[in-house]
C-alpha cells in the first residue's frame, strides 16, 4: 500500500498573464476570447509597446520545453480544447491522449501563425525557461501562460526592473463558444511506502500528524518548525512534501483576502499571516512584495483560479493517475521525445500534414499499447 503526497491539482493549472500597462498604452481590451488574445499578441509584437522605436518585443513567451510551470503553452492549447500529455475522456467514454487529438493540430497551427508573424521569439526552440525569463524581465515579452506562482518569479523581477510594469491574471480565453478548461496534473512521482513486516507501520501516520500539528495546526510553532532564520526547515523533515496546508492554497487565499477586508489578521494560520503582512507592505507602497499580492491577494492567481476554474468547474484533470504502466516504463521517454520534436518542428513552420504522420508514429511506437493499458486501469477503477 502506498500513500501519495497530498498534491494540489490547482497549483499547476495555467493562467494567462498580460502586461496590462501595455494594454492601456495601446488601447486594447482585456483578453476575453482567443480572438482578443491573438490581436493583443500581434499588437505587442508590432506596435512597439515599450515605445523605444525598435521592433524588439514579443507577444507570447515560449521555451524549448513547450509546457511547464513557466513559460507554458499548454494554456494556449487549452483555449482550443487541446491537452498536451494529458489523458482525457473522449465521446465514447474511453481515455485517449490529448497530444494526438485533432484539436491539438488546430492549436499547433495557430502557434505556427504566431511564430511566423513574429509574436513568438524565433529562438524559442533553444531557450530554457531561465533564458526566457531574462527576456521577460527585461521587458521584451508581453504575455505568457503559466502557473499561479509566476508573479513571484519571474514577473516580480520585471516589476522590480520597471516601475511602470503591471501584470494582470486572466483565465484562459477560449477560441469558440465553449469556455476553456485548464489542464491539471496531479503529478504523483513519489509515494510514501512502508516495508512489509515493519514493526510499526502506523508510525508514518503519526509523523504526518505531528508535522501537521507543529506547522499548520492550532498549536503550531512555526518559528521552530516552519522557517527558522529564513531557512525553510520544514523542507528537511522526513515527511516534507507529504502534506500541504489543510485545504490547499485556495483556502489560504480566501482567508487572507477576508482578513485584508476586515483589517484583522489575528485569526490567520501562521503561513497565511505571513502573506497577509507582505500584502499589507505592498499596499503601503513596497513593490518588492507585488508578487505575493498578485498570488494571494485580490484579483490575483487564486482569485482567478477560485472563481473560474473551481467555481466554474473549468478544470480538466488528468484522467490517469495510477503508477507508470509497463508500456510507459518502456516507451514513454521515446514518445515524449517524439511529441516534443514534432510539436517544435510544426511551430517552427513544418507543414501541418506532418501532424497526421506523427499520430500514426505515436501509436506505432507504443502509444497504442499504452492507451490500452490506461483504459484497462480505468475500467478497473469503476
Amino acid at each position: 500500500m502506498a500513500i501519495p503526497p497530498a498534491e494540489d491539482y490547482l497549483g499547476g493549472a495555467p493562467l494567462l498573464w498580460v502586461r496590462t500597462d501595455w494594454l492601456q498604452k495601446l488601447n486594447l481590451p482585456e483578453p476575453k476570447t482567443m480572438d482578443d488574445f491573438l490581436k493583443i499578441a500581434d499588437a505587442f509584437a508590432n506596435q512597439d509597446p515599450d515605445g523605444n522605436g525598435k521592433k524588439d518585443t514579443y507577444g507570447l513567451a515560449a521555451s524549448k520545453d513547450v509546457i511547464g510551470g513557466y513559460p507554458d503553452l499548454s494554456g494556449f492549447m487549452n483555449g482550443y480544447h487541446a491537452y498536451m500529455n494529458v489523458w482525457i475522456k473522449d465521446a465514447s467514454g474511453q481515455l485517449v491522449n490529448g497530444s494526438i487529438q485533432p484539436e491539438m493540430k488546430t492549436a499547433l497551427g495557430k502557434l505556427q501563425e504566431l511564430y511566423k508573424a513574429g509574436a513568438i521569439d524565433k529562438e524559442f526552440g533553444v531557450k530554457d525557461g531561465g533564458k526566457v525569463a531574462e527576456m521577460q524581465t527585461a521587458g521584451k515579452i508581453g504575455m505568457n501562460f503559466g502557473a499561479m506562482w509566476n508573479p513571484l518569479w519571474p514577473l516580480q523581477d520585471n516589476v522590480n526592473a520597471d516601475k511602470n510594469a503591471e501584470w494582470g491574471a486572466f483565465p484562459i480565453p477560449s477560441a469558440d463558444g465553449t469556455p476553456a478548461s485548464a489542464q491539471a496534473n496531479a503529478d504523483f512521482n513519489s509515494f510514501w511506502v512502508v516495508k512489509k513486516g515493519a514493526a510499526h507501520p502506523e508510525a508514518i501516520v503519526k509523523l504526518f500528524n505531528l508535522y501537521n500539528e507543529k506547522i499548520a495546526g492550532p498549536n503550531a510553532e512555526p518559528q521552530t518548525y516552519h522557517t527558522v532564520d529564513g531557512m525553510e526547515v520544514f523542507k528537511y523533515a522526513l515527511m516534507a512534501n507529504g502534506f500541504g496546508t489543510p485545504q490547499g492554497l485556495l483556502s489560504v487565499h480566501k482567508n487572507v483576502v477576508a482578513a485584508l477586508k476586515s483589517g484583522d489578521g489575528a485569526s490567520l494560520l501562521p503561513e497565511e499571516k505571513g502573506y497577509f503582512d507582505k500584502i499589507k507592505a505592498f499596499q503601503g507602497g513596497d513593490r518588492a512584495n507585488w508578487g505575493t499580492n498578485k498570488v494571494f491577494g485580490e484579483g490575483g492567481s487564486w482569485a482567478v483560479i477560485g472563481q473560474n476554474y473551481v467555481d466554474g468547474g473549468l478544470l480538466t484533470k488528468n484522467a490517469y493517475y495510477g503508477p507508470p504502466t509497463p508500456g510507459m516504463t518502456e516507451k514513454k521517454a521515446i514518445l515524449d521525445k517524439l511529441v516534443l520534436e514534432t510539436f517544435t518542428k510544426i511551430i517552427l513552420g513544418s507543414p501541418l500534414s506532418e501532424f497526421d504522420k506523427f499520430v500514426s508514429d505515436w501509436n506505432k511506437l507504443g502509444g497504442e499499447q499504452i492507451t490500452k493499458e490506461v483504459n484497462d486501469w480505468y475500467a478497473s477503477q469503476s
Partner: protein, 293 residues
C-alpha cells in the same frame, strides 16, 4: 647570435597577436561571470550585464561569505586538498617509477600496468561505488574524499612516460655507485621531473578543489561539506516543472544568477593565485646538465 630575419619578426608579431586574442577569448567569459556576480539581481535576471557590473553590489558575495558555513567549508576543502594532493602525488610517483621500467628489469610490469589502466576504462557505476565506500566505513570521513581517488591512473601514465624519457645512463651510473631504487627515485628522477610534477600537482590540486559531487554524496551531514559541495547547496535547484510554492518565494528574493557567478569566481580564485606560482618549475634544460659529465 643569429639576427632574426624579417619573416621571422613578422611571424613573432603575428604569433603574439594570435595568442593574445586567444587568451582574451578565454578571459572574457570569466570577466562576464565576475561582472554578473557583482551586479544587482534585477540586472542579472534581465540579462543586462555585459562585461562590467550593473548596479554594483557585493550582496551575493556577502550572502555567500557571510554565512558561518562558508569558512567552515573552506577549511574542510583546504584540508582535503592538502591531504588529497599529497597522497595523490606520493602514490603517483611511487607507482610511476616501477611501471616505467622495461619488462626485463621488472617482471610483471605489463600485467600491473593493465591492472591499473583497465580501471580508467571500466567502471561499475555510481551505486556500487557508493556501496563500496560505505562498506569501507568511510562515509562522513574526510578519507572518503581522499582515498577512493587516491590513485589517479592518468597522472601515473603521464609521469611514467616522463620517467622513460630520462637518460638511461643516469640510472646505470647510480646503480654502479651502489644506489638502490628508492634513492634513485627520490634523489635522481624526482628532481629531474619538475615540469611534469608541477603539471601533476596543478591538476591534482584543481581536481580536489573543484570536486563537489562526492562531497554531497559521501558526507552525511552538511557541516562536513567541502566548499564546492556547500556552494552547490546555496544555489537553488531550478527544475521548473517541480518548483514548489516556497521555492518560488525564495527565488524572488535572491537571484541565483548572481549567486552562481559568485560561486564560480570563488572556485576559480585560488587556482588563479596558485598557478602562476607553479610555473616557476617549467624550466628547460635541467636534464641536460647532468648528462654531459
Amino acid at each position: 647570435m643569429m639576427r632574426t630575419s624579417l619573416s621571422g619578426r613578422l611571424f613573432n608579431g603575428f604569433n603574439a597577436v594570435v595568442l593574445a586574442l586567444l587568451a582574451l577569448l578565454c578571459l572574457l567569459p570569466l570577466v562576464q561571470v565576475l561582472a554578473v556576480s557583482l551586479s544587482s539581481s534585477t540586472a542579472a535576471s534581465a540579462g543586462a550585464v555585459k562585461l562590467w557590473p550593473v548596479d554594483l553590489t557585493f550582496e551575493s558575495y556577502k550572502f555567500v561569505l557571510g554565512k558561518p558555513e562558508f569558512p567552515r567549508a573552506f577549511w574542510i576543502s583546504l584540508e582535503r586538498v592538502l591531504l588529497g594532493a599529497t597522497i595523490n602525488m606520493l602514490l603517483t610517483i611511487t607507482l610511476a617509477y616501477p611501471l616505467s621500467k622495461e619488462p626485463a628489469a621488472f617482471k610483471g610490469r605489463t600485467a600491473y600496468v593493465w591492472f591499473f589502466v583497465l580501471t580508467m576504462l571500466v567502471g561499475g557505476g555510481l551505486i556500487p561505488w557508493y556501496l563500496v565506500i560505505k562498506a569501507a566505513g568511510l562515509l562522513g570521513s574526510i578519507w572518503a574524499l581522499v582515498l577512493p581517488g587516491a590513485v589517479n591512473v592518468f597522472n601515473v601514465v603521464l609521469l611514467l612516460n616522463f620517467f622513460r624519457g630520462l637518460p638511461r645512463e643516469l640510472e646505470e651510473a647510480a646503480f654502479v655507485d651502489g644506489a638502490g631504487h628508492w634513492t634513485i627515485l627520490w634523489k635522481l628522477f624526482v628532481p629531474l621531473s619538475m615540469p611534469a610534477l608541477a603539471t601533476l600537482i596543478l591538476f591534482t590540486v584543481v581536481g580536489h578543489w573543484n570536486s563537489w559531487f562526492d562531497g554531497l554524496i559521501l558526507m552525511n551531514t552538511p557541516e562536513k561539506y567541502p566548499l564546492q559541495s556547500y556552494l552547490q547547496t546555496v544555489v537553488i535547484n531550478r527544475d521548473l516543472s517541480l518548483i514548489t510554492m516556497a521555492d518560488a518565494a525564495t527565488l524572488s528574493q535572491v537571484s541565483d544568477r548572481t549567486l552562481k557567478g559568485a560561486q564560480i569566481f570563488l572556485a576559480a580564485l585560488p587556482i588563479i593565485c596558485v598557478y602562476p606560482f607553479l610555473q616557476r618549475f617549467f624550466i628547460k634544460g635541467v636534464v641536460v646538465g647532468s648528462v654531459k659529465g
